[in-house]
Amino acid sequence: MSADKPSTALTSRQQVAVVVLAAALVGAVLAPSVYAATNEPSDTVAVVEIEGPVNTALADDVESELADIRANESVGAVVLKLDTPGGAPVASERMYKAVQRTSEDMTVIASVQSISASGGYYAMAPADEIYVLPTSTVGSIGLNAPAPRASSTALGPSGPDKAGSNPTQAWAEQQTLADTFINAMMAERSDEFEMPREEVAKADTYLGTEAVQNGFADEIGSLNEAIHAAATEEELGEYTVDTRETGQEFGIPFLVRTDTGIVAIHANDPGYADVKPMPSTYVYTPAVPHVDTIERFSETDVRTGGAASTERGTPGNETARLSGGVGA
């Protein structure tokens, strides 16, 4: 009988309804992740850390993070968390350009922890505002380089400038390197600086309390206050904080002063390949330890830490290798 059929099987319309319902359920499960993949909620303040010596690895990471932030609609504002004495000129410039570009898209606030000097100051200068703590250190706008000296004539290079033996040319290049930095800072903050270019070029550093008076910083405030200010500026309402670490593991490479200049050491236990001289730097020198200081600490470590020295093998080995590397 036809009367039995409806009782044992669904009608075609019912079957379709069941399938559609099943598909809708599956879709409902998938939809949030699909939606999230294409559009996260727009209520994040990204905190980009710029810590340690300014170098290529740090610039790589900062550029990449800021590019990601600009492309990510969920990020409404950026806070730069700075703690750096500066470093390599080109790395400083790369971060400067990345911050400048990000600043065109959204609010960028720099929050200085203990120090943001020289190349660190360069990197954060395009930020909309600079937050400092009362005893943070900022400034040191200038170049650090040894006085060029006439070298003995090099025999062999294909041209007179290949081995660079003219002090006047070296002086001129150093002046250009310094002016590039100073001009950029004047372009970014000449309206804020309460002093003429000549005074800025003296490369002095200022404590936070003085910096907010002379225009090297804008506000006294902590990182959280900077984050809140950035969120408020972009009217984010409720927001989440997304911290993005940059650079290699802490402190590597570290900068060391020698009697002849500054070197970057790319390993805790450096060999010849790990020591790179930095002839010209945008760095605040007093924040860079002298190699003698490090060696002294290293020696004490070896002498007093008996267990540590047996673990390491030959006592004094580390010191010897460090000094050997730096000497190279």
Partner: protein, 342 residues
Amino acid sequence: MTRVAPLAAAFVVTLAAVTGGAAVAGYVTADGAAPAPAIQNDHYQNPDLIANDTPGQATVEMDASAGSQTVLVDPGVEPATARPVLPFSLIGLGGGGVADRDIRPLANALIENGHEVGVYVPDPDQQRRPARPGAEETTQLGERLAEADAFVTFRTDYEPDELDAIESFVESGGHVVLATEPDAAYSQPGAASLDATLDVTTESGYVYNMEENDLNYQRVYAEATGDASLTEGVDRAVFPSATPVGTPAGGADVLRPIEGSELSTTRAPTDAPLLVRNDEVVMIGDSDFLSPDNARRADNDALIGNLADFLVTNDRTPPGDGGSTGPTQPGPGQPPTNGTAG
């Protein structure tokens, strides 16, 4: 069985519609991350940013027509085996073999005009010899000065008997050029004694100029304040690391730093002289300006020529004519010179 295909199709279409809708909604509501245009930073493209690196030309010429004079140069080289010496490195000398390298423009001018140039490097063995009882004490420097008409020194730490020899030398009409460096007074004992002997003064700190300088704030320009033979033809000289100097005698033969110069220790504007003349003595608060590289900057070549003229234009008549600086022993190969003012 034929209903399976439509059912499968319905499932796929529905799933696609839901997930696709979510995707489209996401893309529609997202702002595309189109590459931003490059930001033009005019401050990087200013042609004035690039410092002029032309080394320049130097023509050191002498006007003096004096007969052959002997000029003794003390480059500040310590006796052999001594520690590396500060004044030695300050004037950029690389080693014992190139002791006269950095004053070559001055030495060349003197030699080309027929004068003798001697370099004084103390012999450690002789210097420490005990004075014979009863004998008139003399010094190596005294012996060399006795033969000289003029003296150029970069050293400040002379012993008392050497200072006596220098004083006698000046009193007998010999001309002295003393080129010092910033803060030499701190690191070298005896600087004040030499200053007192020559009646000149130095200040602590160095002069810099943030507004106008020769490729570095410490490489300051100095200009003449009046007409004098020492500054003739010198519109501007460059002193790479200069300290203010002075003399109670005053006078017009001075170079002062240009406007905008400041002193490192006070951070206050300064126009204290960087070069002064006290009759037989010229005191310069810098020694690097004599180097071949710096001789090509500004009018340093004219200044060096004037200094050469000053050295050979003296009233001294050594030796044998009653030089008052102790025993004179003209050495072999160094004929006595009878230079007089020209």
